[in-house]
């Protein structure tokens, strides 16, 4: 018993404590959280914007001839192309293109990763929001319009709140996917949690402890995110 306890202490000492090895994991984890959080903000804001543009274009079917109609039509076309390209190509390739081509002069790896994952997630969130918006009852929208509410008022008071409720489960999945997908950040040399584990292995020459430790950290965060989204769902459904 004492022997095995000693073994565990040694194991932790050699793999994580010695020379502050654990800092590779915690610093990496901090980068992973930052990238996820800021990418989420970008994805959320841009995703809603893209979804509204596409829905408004379909609802209002504006004429190309008026300036505002032209703008909406144009933005909607661009959104469609954007979403098609993002969803049709691997995130890793997008990350490499951002790093090596588009943002070649930007040397802050964290920002490259945030922008890539944010722009990527926006395309998926746009599709999620769009289906959430389209699931809102047409009758309720007509009721709002029949009371004199404008299109925008109806959007903000009836459609969007219900759309959020509708897409919360899919939205939670997307956040979890985003979080896990940041683990490819190492491709551009950003030391996130996964890369941090890799570096740690190069010090200790033992693969299992750092990889399992990082896997455990990812898992715990995913479980926490799931709990948060379940709680949100419970809060906004009235039964």
């Amino acid at each position: 018993m004492t022997v095995s306890l000693q073994a565990i202490v040694d194991f932790i000492q050699n793999n994580f404590i010695k020379d502050d090895y654990w800092k590779y994991l915690t610093n990496g984890f901090s980068i992973t959280l930052q990238v996820t959080f800021f990418a989420f903000l970008i994805g959320f804001a841009l995703g809603i914007f893209l979804a509204i543009i596409r829905v408004a274009c379909k609802d209002l079917s504006p004429s190309w001839k008026t300036p505002s109609g032209f703008l909406i039509n144009l933005l909607s076309k661009i959104s469609n192309i954007y979403i098609t390209i993002i969803r049709g190509t691997p995130t890793t390739v997008q990350l490499l293109i951002m790093f090596n081509v588009i943002l070649i002069n930007l040397h802050n790896l964290k920002i490259v990763a945030i922008l890539t994952f944010g722009l990527n997630s926006a395309a998926y969130m746009a599709e999620i929001f769009r289906s959430g918006i389209q699931a809102v009852s047409a009758g309720e929208i007509e009721a709002a319009r029949s009371l004199g509410l404008s299109y925008m008022q109806t959007m903000s008071k009836i459609v969007m709140p219900q759309a959020f409720r509708n897409c919360l489960p899919a939205f939670g999945n997307e956040v979890i996917t985003l979080f896990k997908e940041t683990s490819i950040s190492g491709f551009i040399g950003l030391v996130d949690l996964t890369r941090g584990a890799g570096i740690l292995i190069s010090k200790t020459f033992r693969a299992a402890p750092p990889y399992f430790a990082s896997a455990l950290i990812y898992l715990i965060v995913v479980l926490i995110l799931e709990q948060i989204f379940h709680a949100l769902e419970r809060r906004i459904t009235h039964d």
Binding site: E142, A143, S146, G148, L149, K157
Partner: protein, 241 residues
């Protein structure tokens, strides 16, 4: 109050309304009947421009409202609609359902709207439901609240599209009772319904619509039901009565 002139409405190739002319005067109660698919809902929905007329004019309080310069939201504030499926806002509780439009359209401030909402809820006998959400209410309760929601805007005209058709039979009465009360209070109403008892009792005019046209019109409901003039009206009434 509202005039319909030579109204045509097509859905692509399908001609749904084919030359409807109608005038509804203040505090008239017009009941519209006709077979399924004859264009009753479409006619009602053209009146508040939920459907855009293909041609013809809708004139509400001396203004041609199907004209591109008209602020349709402003017009709709004065014209309520009650739907077959109630269409209460499912993300809002009863009080919020009632106060949303008057507050958003700057008719009333929040306090005034809430006071008025409570008065209306008392009048329809549902003051204890003020914090409930629509899915916690029976169909009859939902429809009475939908009517109250329309009344919050003090409309000049109320449009009803089969307000009792989606209700369980035991709840039809409470909704018709409220509508009768409104009629007696002088509300101008256009009602599409299959409730012939209500039509006899409340209507001061009956329209029979078939294939997108007003086939028969009568200012005497009892006479209309007892002695329909047109053959198509007779056929229709013999099927439903």
């Amino acid at each position: 109050m509202i005039k319909i002139r030579n109204l045509y409405k097509n859905f692509d190739k399908l001609e749904v309304l084919r030359g409807v002319n109608l005038e509804i005067k203040p505090s008239e109660k017009v009941v519209i009947i006709g077979p399924s698919g004859s264009g009753k809902s479409t006619m009602l929905r053209c009146m508040n421009l939920l459907e855009k007329p293909t041609s013809g004019e809708i004139i509400f309080k001396d203004q041609v409202i199907n004209d591109s310069h008209v602020d349709i939201n402003k017009v709709r504030e004065n014209m309520g609609m009650v739907f077959q499926q109630f269409n209460l806002f499912s993300n809002l509780n009863v009080l919020e359902n009632l106060t949303l439009a008057p507050v958003m359209r700057h008719r009333l401030n929040k306090d005034e709207a809430e006071t008025k909402a409570m008065e209306l809820l008392k009048r329809i006998g549902l003051p204890e439901k003020v914090k409930n959400y629509p899915n916690q209410l029976s169909g009859g309760q939902q429809q009475r609240i939908a009517i109250a929601r329309a009344l919050m805007m003090d409309p000049d005209l109320l449009l009803f599209d089969e307000p009792t058709s989606a209700l369980d039979p035991e709840m039809v009465g409470e909704v018709l009772e409220l509508m009768t009360e409104l009629a007696q209070a002088g509300m101008t109403m256009a009602v599409v319904t299959h409730e012939m008892g209500f039509a006899r009792q409340v209507a001061n005019r009956i329209l029979f619509i078939d294939e997108g046209m007003i086939v028969e019109e009568s200012y005497d409901p009892n006479d209309f039901f007892d002695n329909p003039q047109e053959e198509r009206t007779q056929q229709f009434l013999s099927k439903i009565l």
